[in-house]
């Protein structure tokens, strides 16, 4: 029998942080598989590299802080951060940028604030924005999806590209890269081209860009899995996607020639990934239910606003980080009415 008397409850507890994170990783599989399918080995190389750097960085920080290393690494949270980061950046990103990004995420954003649970910002998104601002070109050069590329980049070519910056021999960037659907849409709209004409390009699939929409479907599948496993609740993803769709739908109804229809917004860029996997990061999101609705809807609106009028093509990272700042305040004002209390609680 144990020496100290421990407080109730006494039963076994089914949940554990590591299991939650494992479920999240599992849920990422279909989307990641689709990415690898369409964008080649670079995706997998980036993930491997990012995970390795994240784990080493986490262990090193724990060492310096004289905390046990095992639990910190064993909770898989650094792995999740690394994977989310790696699938947000282009599959050709030079290795040292991934390294820099992960160090930034783990050491500065996560551990300097005190480790998991204390970081006000989503580490993966903070690192993404940090790199985007510092190296805009590298961060926005995307490979063309498999079926559109003139040259399929092989595994070794990916390795050489990432670690040596060397293009496959006899191949120019243009042959393997393509604008992302969001970029394409923006660029052409800025040139004054009407939507109907833009969509004639072979880049487009049913809703969003070809290839891209399947990646989004993969993440959607994973998101539904997370909901089913009750790892996340519907509040953030649904409110975020609904707000995005409603805003996009309203403006599309007003002027369908210069505004893409709502499904384009949902299935392009990181909207689905963001809704289910990034905005739902518990540490940096709101925790009250009402708060989560506000948090999610605000992200959806911000994504739409930044995509439509802002300077950067995609906006999920910015929107999430902006809302991370106000999340504690939202929580503060959306506390539930405590059982047996009348009206909303007045005190802080």
């Amino acid at each position: 029998m144990s020496a100290t008397l421990v407080s109730s409850p006494h039963g076994s507890r089914p949940n554990r942080v590591d299991r939650v994170m494992q479920e999240v990783l599992l849920a990422l599989v279909p989307g990641v598989a689709a990415m690898i399918w369409f964008f080649g080995w670079g995706v997998l190389i980036n993930i491997t590299l990012a995970v390795a750097v994240a784990l080493i960085a986490e262990a090193a920080v724990m060492r310096v802080r004289r905390r046990p290393i095992g639990p910190a690494i064993g909770d898989y949270s650094a792995v999740v951060t690394a994977v989310l980061f790696a699938i947000s950046v282009p599959p050709t990103l030079p290795w040292w940028m991934t390294l820099l990004g992960m160090l930034f995420a783990i050491v500065l954003v996560k551990q300097l604030y005190g480790g998991i649970g204390y970081n006000p910002f989503n580490p993966a998104m903070a690192a993404y924005v940090f790199l985007l601002v510092s190296y805009p070109v590298a961060m926005t050069t995307w490979l063309a999806p498999d079926m559109l590329a003139e040259h399929a980049v092989s595994f070794t070519e990916s390795l050489r590209l990432i670690f040596g910056g060397a293009l496959p021999s006899g191949v120019e960037w243009d042959a393997i890269s393509a604008a992302t659907p969001l970029d394409e849409m923006r660029g052409k709209l800025d040139q004054g081209m009407p939507i109907a004409e833009i969509r004639l390009s072979p880049l487009w699939g049913d809703f969003g860009g070809r290839g891209w929409e399947w990646v989004a479907n993969g993440f959607l599948l994973g998101g539904v899995y997370l909901l089913w496993r009750r790892i996340i609740t519907w509040h953030i993803p649904v409110s975020m996607l609904a707000a995005l769709a409603v805003a996009a739908g309203a403006i599309w109804l007003i002027d369908p020639t210069t505004h893409p229809f709502p499904a384009f917004h949902l299935f392009s860029g990181a909207a689905i990934l963001g809704a289910f996997f990034i905005a739902t990061d518990p540490v940096s999101a709101c925790t009250t239910k009402t708060g989560q609705l506000i948090f999610g809807a605000s992200i959806g609106l911000l994504v739409f606003v930044i995509r439509t009028w802002g300077g950067y093509p995609d906006a999920v990272a910015f929107a999430v980080l902006l809302m991370n700042i106000v999340a504690p305040t939202i929580d503060h004002y959306t506390q539930p009415r405590v059982f047996g209390h009348s009206g909303n609680r007045a005190n802080p």
């Binding site: 109730s8 039963g11 949940n15 299991r19 506390q335 539930p336 047996g340 209390h341």
Partner: protein, 532 residues
Amino acid sequence: MAAIQSLLRRDRLWTFHGGIHVPDEKALSNGRAVEVMPLPKRLVIPLQQHIGATARPVAKVGDRVLKGQLLAQAEGYVSACIHASSSGTLVAIEPHPVPHPSGLSALCAVIETDGEDTWAELPEPITHYAQLDPTEIRERIRWAGVVGLGGASFPTSVKLNPGPDQRIRTLIINGAECEPYITCDDLLMRERAGDILAGVRIMHHLLGDPRILIGIEDNKPEAFEAMRFALAETDMRGYTEIRSIPTLYPSGGEKQLIRILTGEEVPTHAIPARIGIVCQNVGSAAAVADAVLEGRPLTSRIVTVTGRAIAEPRNLEVRIGTPVSDLIAHCGGYRERPRKLVCGGPMMGFEIAHAEIPVTKPANCVLALTEAETPDPGPALACIRCGRCAEVCPAKLLPQQLYWHARAKDLDRVQDYNLFDCIECGCCAQVCPSHIPLVQYYRYAKNEVWAREEDKRKAELARMRHEAKQARLERQERERKARLRQKKESLDAGPGKSQTDQDAKKAAIEAAKQRAAAKKAAAAKAEETDDA
């Protein structure tokens, strides 16, 4: 269709926020009939088994006592009588380890039993209670030492006396038994449904004819049927309904059950009587029937002895004061070494260090849990703010925030987050993926707040005492000076001795008068502070 039917029958059920589904583990112990536990050699009967003041011993060490004889008298209004649970010799009244979360000892009456189990002379049964004044019946219940047997152990007679200006509209009988593993109420309802209803009928009379709602979780179909069957035999059908409620922990919490059955919320810091509701446990109802209809005090209860470490888990009818170790031995001992012994259920019970403690009135369950049932949760990780705890909190609190402030020892902030609305149900800790012992933090914070308030009170008292003392010293100093002055004056006045004598006397009288007045003032002041 069922929904429409329930609307027509007006037996709609409400829900409370959160709650969790936990494996109920009731099948371990609910398969066998209740067995009467044999008489132990020694009974150790704590003098405080209830909420309220410790009872005052009325039997003397060395006395021969009979079963049902009063050992200790309820002391004050909120207290309960304690009776001998078998005949024998009262060999000691001394501190013994008792079932308490703190693991501390408390005053107990120790009886060496004589094996005869001879009953004392009992008061007359009251069968015609409907014609009697409620006060008389309440007095009987109070004499019988009936307390809430669901675990709270609040004196039942007090709960059945809501006062003249509090009309009770609804009497709720709690047969939910939502804690996993525990089946004593289940078995009681199956085996003594008629007695429970007889007790309920008495309560109904005492409370001025409220409607009666009996709530039973739907994982106890046999108990539900037994109660329905018994109800059909009574004249109580007109005002009594038995409702099967969904199994969801903690539906048996008083405030939760009230919400489920009536849709009403008991206001924070208030008792249910504030909204015209009284809630009683099925076991207490049966005990009331015994007390009133048979004249028998509460000397035994049903205890579930279960957990996978127990060879033959079952329910035992146990005399109050029987050592827990005897119960375990009677159930075949341990099948495997338990990792933990728990008094009460796994969600709200408390761990006990050993089995050498007696069964008390509120002790509904003894759990011997194996390593697999209560694995080491491992070190607590940081809170990842996932909000799972808030999702399941039946009090609709934000447990993560409570935790945050409790850990920072910010006693004002924890109270802002309504710490005292926490019912310590353990739902939050059960689902927390970081395995933070949340309830432990809340208990700690509550204790700290209480301690701080106590400190404040003491400091205030000390300040007043200090001031009084200061005033006394100053007065004495004044008097001393006055005496000195007088002495000097009389010396100065020359050898006129008689004169001096007279003056001195006068001065002495004057001083005495002053002292008396000062004392009176001080006493008045002290009284004031007492009142405050």
